[in-house]
């Protein structure tokens, strides 16, 4: 949620937001298609491996273990040619700002042994407060880095197909796949809608007018969405769709995949054991 946006700039901010969403999707697909350590691995191995590292970070009760998993995530990113600049822009700064704002008060509000005092204020930072803020920040940064690593090294459709190993029903995998494709189409549609509205707007709109624009745009988009749903359904029927969903499963485990799976399993197990 963005607060205190200058009056009249909401169209620009919305266009920028939609554009950023499209850009992120494009960056992820390009990065997944590039070479690197994780890119050639089977998507199922990456899903299982990176999810188990996220789980190990979530279970850890020692800060150094979470920090070690974070360092491992950074090393995997570097070896997979996912630049730290991209990670900082897409994950670290946002997570730091959001979670930092939540974590900072816990430095003072968590009861415990006094660590130091804030000069000029009568606030005491406690050791327990420092620990809890560190747990929160490190866990959030680690999990977000691992999640983004998956998306930046694997094509989206492959990630969704790999969810089948968690016994996600076939129809839901198909729904997720279609939704992720049409998100890009609807993002583009909304982007064009706001761009065209922006190009016709002269001066700043009043608050009520801006709300009307946003709500009417949402209404138009909903109408288009449902119309598109009907069209897609007819197109699917024309191609022989009768309610049965089949996925083209092109996954094959190679020797490298088994080695990587064993590596992820060993690291995650070590993380859980050391962090218990």
């Amino acid at each position: 949620m963005r607060l205190l946006v200058p009056r009249g700039r909401f169209l620009e901010r919305t266009v920028e937001g939609l554009h950023a969403g499209l850009e992120m999707a494009l960056d992820a697909e390009n990065s997944a298609a590039a070479g690197g350590l994780l890119q050639p691995l089977d998507a199922r191995v990456k899903v299982v491996g990176l999810f188990s590292l996220i789980l190990a970070a979530a279970l850890a009760k020692r800060l150094w273990v979470i920090a070690a998993i974070f360092a491992l995530a950074c090393a995997l990113a570097a070896l997979s040619h996912v630049s730290f600049r991209v990670l900082a822009a897409r994950v670290w700064i946002g997570a730091l700002a959001f979670t930092g704002a939540i974590a900072v008060p816990s430095l003072f509000l968590t009861p415990g042994d006094a660590l130091c005092h804030v000069p000029g204020l009568r606030w005491t930072i406690t050791a327990q407060g420092f620990a809890t803020a560190s747990y929160l920040l490190l866990r959030v940064e680690t999990a977000a880095t691992l999640a983004v690593l998956l998306v930046f090294t694997t094509r989206w459709m492959q990630v969704l197909k790999a969810l089948r190993i968690f016994h996600v029903p076939l129809v839901l995998v198909a729904v997720l796949g279609m939704a992720s494709r049409y998100i890009l189409l609807l993002l583009e549609s909304a982007h064009e809608m706001f761009e065209s509205r922006k190009s016709r707007a002269v001066g700043a709109l009043a608050g009520a007018a801006r709300r009307r624009v946003a709500v009417a745009s949402a209404g138009v988009l909903l109408g288009r969405t449902l119309e598109l749903s009907g069209d897609v359904y007819l197109a699917m029927q024309a191609r022989g769709f009768r309610g049965e969903v089949h996925l083209l499963d092109d996954f094959t485990m190679k020797r490298l995949d088994w080695v990587a799976l064993a590596g992820f399993a060993a690291l995650a197990t070590a993380g859980v054991w050391a962090g218990r």
Partner: protein, 354 residues
Amino acid sequence: MHIPDGYLSPATCAALYGGAVPFWYVALRRVRQALHTRLVPLISLFAAFSFVIMMFNLPLPGGTTGHAVGIGLAAVVLGPWAAMLAVSTAIVIQALFFGDGGITAIGANCFNMAIVGALVAYAVYRILARRAAIGSARRVVAAGLAGYAAINVSALLAAIEFGIQPLLYRDATGAPLYCPYPLSIAIPAMMLGHLTIAGFAELTVSAGVVAYLQRSDPSLLQSTAGRGAESIEASAGGALRPLWLGLGALLILTPLGILATGSAWGEWVARDFADPAARHAIAASSFHQAAPLRAPEGLARWSQIWTAPFARYAPPYVRSAAFGYLLSAMFGAGLILLACLAVGRLTRRQGPTT
């Protein structure tokens, strides 16, 4: 509102995944029976819409902006079960591909927003809209309030999930391992923003888009307005079986609750303050802060007003603690079911609205 990874313990996340699964199962069966092959494109496209709508900046009074989640709108246009699937799909995609909400917290986010949010939105909409015509202003107000209620109930659930973390999970030094704030901080902090900014954004989008649809394509509001929605629900009565089975299993397991020692934090009764063992338990769960020697005056006074027939889940006329616990659970669940049946009957009486 989207809980990231690291704020909730894995056990809490697992419990909320477990809570969400039966609803997903029932939703899938109900929607499948009603929509057949249209399910895949309809849910997919609405999920994509729900995702995009979250990126719309909505200017709010006071110079702020907010964004809606679209729970109210999904429930009003698709009905609660399809809305559950559509919003869950959007949440999964957000967590996997856009880093909005955690992967371990997908179950929690879906439970709070997609499941409870959709059910609350639908109930509020149907109760408030009653027999109003499709084009009436009453439906606009009902949709707005449905969205407002849904987002706030979802936020309250998230706040409770945050607030119980420091009570349950701490390291050896006493530092909270996950969200550090207790209920007394988490609930006001979450609700302040949602009762005002986020709630108003959801209200505006839900009401505004329904008003827009009333003029542009009122047929989209038909399915949840009366007979259409009822026919979907009536055709899928058997799909509720897993929920009934789950409820039965939980009832049978309720005596496990008495294995836990002590009482929940803040749920003390006046006589606990005079009991040394209870006072010790209170101090242990309150950062070793000693409890007052006598019950606070207000607590002592107000606790006399009402004596529950099943006080502390132990009816006085039942000797076995386990059986008393089970009886209390059955009585409570029965009352809730009766209330739900009454609400259901009330809303079902409404006929076609155009």
